[in-house]
Symmetry: C2
Subunit: 360 residues, 2 copies
């Protein structure tokens, strides 16, 4: 494993960031990595990716329409939805574009480094029950979920829309949610109602949800057929993204230098901590790399089927410059790669994090 | 007024952004400008500038020590502080570095464009009462406020510390606060206790506050004597920053293109809205610029002495490319400049915002 730069393992000077990228970074924010200390990410620290503007919504008059290829179209108020069976689930959510800037020739989009993640306790009601009431007809193949956030992407004016197969949508843990960490949804997280698809990248968990439509042909909307695909080259239709790839992150140790984010650590025994998660299976191993030499970390049990797992390791830090890494493996046998996973849209790059540290 | 670029009124391509800047932008976030629609900024949308890491704190064991040149040193628990007279005040806070990237040869620091602002309702107790109990001795000249957030800046390891003159600190509206928007402070906003200095740039409102010390000589700490100064050149000791300079911002109209942030508006009557504020005096005038021609906007009364004022204006939008601006003037006669205010640290650049719009 060769690191090309002490601060960044791809040469950043060759690919400076643009004003458009900065504009996205100024409004959509990641998790400050030290906030991995919280099992549940406090409000305002959870990552946020909003394609268009935060829309104006009103909880009192909000309706969710369920229609299309169903026996009984429904129009539900927020009170209707809240009166259904209630469930709370801790879910680690990650943006599919996390790691985008850590690849050469990156796409111009949200310039995530590694921090587009968070874990929240979402409270809502299983979607399956609502779908059962509407009676999705047997020849339906997908459900299309629409938010009221509207804008232009790829020259297409659109509401933000994504689809799930009937089977995926009927999973017990797919929910219509109205609360996050015990409080009504904040505007930026989809108030008053959103979808949560545990285990999947965040693009599936449609915010500001006001329509669900059963369809008999696969959905060809922009965010399904064009965006959020892993393309090998520009003409490749690509594969759709779904479940979150395995990843571990470290809370950088010691104290930080402003504005460089260089870490400064005192020599001696240093406790390294972080989190690991996968949308495919529980994490079974986290390794910590010190200057390219790997050691297994202690791993806490999963607090729930969709929440990140804490890990820790002790490092005997010696004076000098060091490069720390961490790498997770899940029970399905997936391990993080040591090289960037390049693709046209800069998606799902779960390449290992590196943390340069000065030990004094 | 000449705009050099349709997306940015200084040529961004000549000065691309660095990885260090991106790392700051990924964790410290601004206000999404459409969120100016809320009188009080919801949790997680208020701007955030954290120099070092968010520290680990514990409300139950927290103590605030008041010492130095006082008659009666105090050590107060959070309960002690909460049992004092309670006051809630809406305060617009802005980062002194707001506008930094909108000047040539900018300093490498937090790359704010224009969005480092927010308005919250802060609940706490006037600092003056606590100081009276401690009995600040008459020969004291300043009070030094220290947080527990620690790091390195300018090669100096430090807790974040700032001072106020005794006169400024004794102002009725300077408060020790434990709640924001009716809820306990979030970790990133200084939990469990912070200072709020209404009307001043955010650097004065020390977060994670655990020490106040009365001193008989002006404080020479890094954040006072080196940082947060307006320097004309590198060898200039500069002038300290204090009150917030006058500024208006517009919520960009129409819908947005992702990821460029280009705005798209339908031809016809368009309502333009935004906010304006100044730490010196109430706002008396907001002008809206359309392609360099200025018109006076309607201005709402101030909801409080330290909270931003809403403004609005109607624009008859005609097809084509347009550049919108807004410019505020306060009762003290301060007006926003039409050229960037250059200084070494990139501080207090309240140069007018420009919003490129495509009308269709």
């Amino acid at each position: 494993m060769v690191y090309l730069s002490p601060m960044f393992d791809l040469p950043p000077a060759d690919e400076p960031f643009t004003f458009d990228e900065l504009q996205k970074a100024a409004r959509n924010h990641g998790l400050p990595l030290e906030a991995m200390r919280y099992d549940i990410t406090p409000a305002g620290l959870h990552y946020l990716l909003i394609h268009f503007d935060i829309p104006v919504t009103d909880a009192a008059s909000w309706r969710l329409a369920i229609g299309g290829n169903v026996d009984q179209p429904l129009s539900l108020s927020l009170d209707d939805i809240r009166s259904r069976p209630v469930r709370t689930l801790a879910v680690t959510m990650e943006c599919a574009g996390n790691g985008r800037v850590r690849m050469p020739n990156r796409k111009q989009s949200q310039p995530w480094i590694v921090e587009a993640v968070g874990t929240a306790e979402w409270t809502g009601t299983p979607l399956a029950g609502v779908l059962a009431d509407a009676g999705v007809k047997p020849d339906s193949v997908e459900l299309v979920f629409s938010g009221v956030d509207r804008g232009v992407q790829g020259d297409v004016e659109q509401d933000y829309e994504r689809a799930l197969t009937i089977e995926e949508a009927m999973r017990d843990d797919v929910m219509l949610v109205w609360a996050m960490n015990g409080q009504s949804l904040l505007p930026q997280h989809g108030a008053p109602l959103r979808l949560i698809v545990p285990g999947w990248y965040g693009m599936a968990s449609v915010k500001w949800l006001n329509r669900i439509e059963a369809v008999t042909e696969p959905f060809q909307g922009y965010q399904q057929a064009v965006a959020y695909r892993v393309q090998a080259h520009e003409d490749d239709p690509g594969e759709p993204l779904d479940r979150i790839k395995v990843r571990a992150l470290m809370a950088p140790p010691g104290i930080v230098e402003f504005p460089s984010t260089r870490r400064i650590v005192d020599a001696g025994s240093v406790r390294l901590t972080g989190r690991a998660w996968s949308g495919f299976a529980p994490i079974v191993r986290v390794e910590v790399g010190v200057d390219g030499s790997w050691h297994e970390a202690d791993l806490d049990p999963a607090p729930g089927p969709y929440a990140w797992q804490a890990w820790s390791s002790t490092w005997q830090a010696e004076r000098g410059e060091h490069l720390l890494s961490c790498r997770a493996t899940d029970a399905a046998g997936n391990t993080q790669p040591l090289e960037p996973f390049w693709n046209v849209q800069g998606m799902a790059n779960n390449y290992v994090q590196t943390v340069p540290v000065t030990v004094r």
